[in-house]
């Protein structure tokens, strides 16, 4: 006998940081691309176009950084689906088996989609990578930002980066990682759709409302 159940999976902080991250990345990518490929848009020297674009980039950068840090914090205090354990499946043999299972499904080898309530194992591991990229963006972004005030708080925290990589190297990393995040976004939306259709767990609506519909054995 199986009972249908609406399980509360994604708590408010998980959903909130998810959407804040998404909006921030869109805004940061658009403004960042403009910063990188500046062309004349102003009609007069008293305009402040680049000034505002940079202002939006930096303000959104602060919001994004706060959101990323909050989500990391929540992975220690939130429910089991939000836990940091979800993101390191590869440390256990069982986790590696589940990752392989999902991978085989993606390669059309197996016909059983991953049947999980939270993240499937492969997705969990991918998000670890994505969060590392987020942290890289925050680190390189604040390092670039801190240069306007050497000796200030931001430059004290991030200035060491320039002793490790060159200044232009930091900029290039900041720029290229954006494209990796854009590629991830494409994959992410597709996979969410795929799993919504195949898993039939309502994964897409779950990130809005927090609930997934599941049938549990019992």
């Amino acid at each position: 006998m199986r009972k249908l159940e609406n399980r509360y999976v994604w708590e408010v902080p998980v959903r909130a940081t998810h959407w804040i991250n998404m909006l921030s990345i869109v805004i940061l990518s658009v403004t960042g691309l403009f910063i990188g490929a500046a062309t004349t848009v102003a009609h007069s020297t008293s305009d402040y176009t680049m000034g505002w674009v940079r202002f939006v980039h930096f303000t959104t950068g602060y919001i994004f950084a706060t959101s990323v840090v909050s989500r990391i914090y929540w992975s220690f205090v939130g429910n089991r689906y939000a836990s940091w354990r979800e993101f390191v499946p590869f440390v256990t043999a069982d986790g590696r088996r589940r990752m392989m299972q999902t991978f085989r499904y993606y390669l059309f080898i197996d016909r059983t989609p991953p049947d999980v309530v939270g993240h499937n194992a492969l997705a969990g591991a991918t998000y670890l990578l994505v969060f590392l990229l987020y942290l890289l963006m925050v680190l390189t972004g604040f390092a670039l930002y801190g240069q306007y005030a050497p000796g200030g708080v931001v430059s004290r925290l991030t200035g060491w980066l320039f002793l490790v990589i060159s200044n232009q190297g930091v900029r290039l990393a900041h720029h290229l990682t954006m494209w990796l995040l854009i590629a991830f976004a494409i994959h992410h939306v597709y996979s969410a759709w795929l799993m919504d259709v195949k898993e039939k767990g309502g994964v897409i609506s779950s990130i809005f409302g927090g609930y997934k519909s599941i049938r549990v054995k019992g």
Partner: protein, 371 residues
């Protein structure tokens, strides 16, 4: 050097600075102007100028030796090729330059004897300026003076000095001789002579006024100014070019040169789009300028090349593009073309996957979850 300072050390009974300058036709007024300029360069309040003048008048002239290794002599040129009476000239008069490969009258073993004499008589008191990089490979054989390697001699001379000043980017960070593939293993003085006090004054060439200001600081306060993490004095390298640039208003407005000679270029717009490295470079060029404050690269319409930053030749190139080439890709592949390629490839792969998935049936869940 000249009749006043050449080869006689800083013995007792030397003439005061103002006496010396007067003999050379430099008026008291010019000397005070020099003191004001130095006070400004050091970012001290203007009220310090009289104190600087008094201190300079009373100071004992330190001996200075100038070592030149893998360099183009641009820093010596920057110091000497100036109209008179210049800040730089006055500083040369303040110092007693006892050894300088390019400009000294003595030659051969006599010159080397002069240097040995300074090492012995002035131990721990003299200043050393190093111009040019020092090769380390194969025991340093790629640069020798008087039969000894630069590495060996620099370690001896800098080791016994009160302080070492590395002038120009090559002496500071290896500069152009150290650019990839760095055939001679060239490095800056700090790396070649570890454990001694080295002030880095990079720039290609060094700004002579900054060197003067450094020396004045040393004479007036008896110590070196505050340095940053890579040994550069903050008074000259504490701010980014981009943050003091006269074209900055155009940057913030959104007005850029997009082609050499276009309307924006003629109107003095910002050179960011043309690869200006002002946002990556710490130097006081916009305020101190070159050639007696006549101009500086961005002032004359060319982007900053980042010449005063470590490894600039390898990391700031291409000079006319914002971002470096991506390692491992073809020379002309920009970061954005690679990025768009990655995004498009991702979309194509998952798009194809989607088509297959949509056609596949019986691969859906029975909705039972592992929990």
């Amino acid at each position: 050097m000249d009749e006043h300072s050449g080869g006689h050390g800083n013995g007792n009974g030397q003439a005061s600075i103002s006496q010396l300058l007067e003999e050379r036709g430099v008026s008291r007024r010019d000397f005070l102007k020099f003191c004001s300029a130095m006070t400004a360069a050091l970012a001290l309040p203007a009220t310090f100028a009289p104190r600087v003048a008094r201190a300079l008048d009373e100071v004992k002239r330190p001996t200075l030796v100038w070592l030149e290794y893998q360099s183009c002599t641009g820093d010596t040129e920057a110091l000497l090729r100036t109209a008179n009476p210049t800040v730089a000239e006055i500083v040369l008069d303040i110092l007693s330059v006892d050894y300088a490969e390019t400009i000294m009258a003595a030659a051969g073993h006599l010159a080397e004897e002069n240097l040995d004499k300074v090492l012995k008589d002035e131990k721990g008191k003299y200043l050393v300026v190093v111009e040019g990089a020092i090769p380390m490979k194969d025991g340093g054989v790629y640069c020798c003076v008087g039969g000894r390697t630069a590495l060996d001699r620099a370690r001896e001379v800098c080791g016994g000095a009160a302080a070492t000043i590395a002038v120009g980017t090559c002496a500071s960070f290896g500069g152009i001789p150290a650019a990839a593939p760095n055939p001679t293993g060239a490095v800056g003085v700090r790396d070649a002579v570890p454990g001694v006090t080295v002030v880095n004054m990079p720039g290609c060439p060094l700004n002579a006024d900054n060197l003067s200001a450094l020396v004045v600081h040393y004479l007036v306060f008896g110590k070196l100014p505050e340095l940053d993490a890579i040994g550069r004095p903050l008074f000259a390298y504490g701010k980014r070019i981009h943050d003091n640039c006269e074209r900055r208003a155009h940057f913030d407005a959104g007005q850029y040169v997009e082609k050499w000679g276009d309307e924006g270029h003629r109107n003095g717009y910002c050179l960011y789009h043309m690869g200006c490295k002002g946002p990556e470079t710490f130097h006081n060029c916009p305020t101190q300028r070159y050639n007696e404050k006549t101009s500086w690269p961005v002032g004359s319409g060319h982007g900053c090349a980042g010449c005063s930053e470590p490894q600039f030749w390898d990391t700031m190139t291409p000079f006319y593009r914002r971002l470096p080439h991506v390692p491992g890709f073809g020379i002309e592949k920009t970061a954005d073309r690679i990025g768009v390629g990655v995004a498009v490839a991702t979309a194509a792969v998952f798009g194809a996957h989607g088509v297959v998935s949509a056609m596949r049936h019986k691969d859906t869940s029975d909705e039972t979850k592992e929990d």
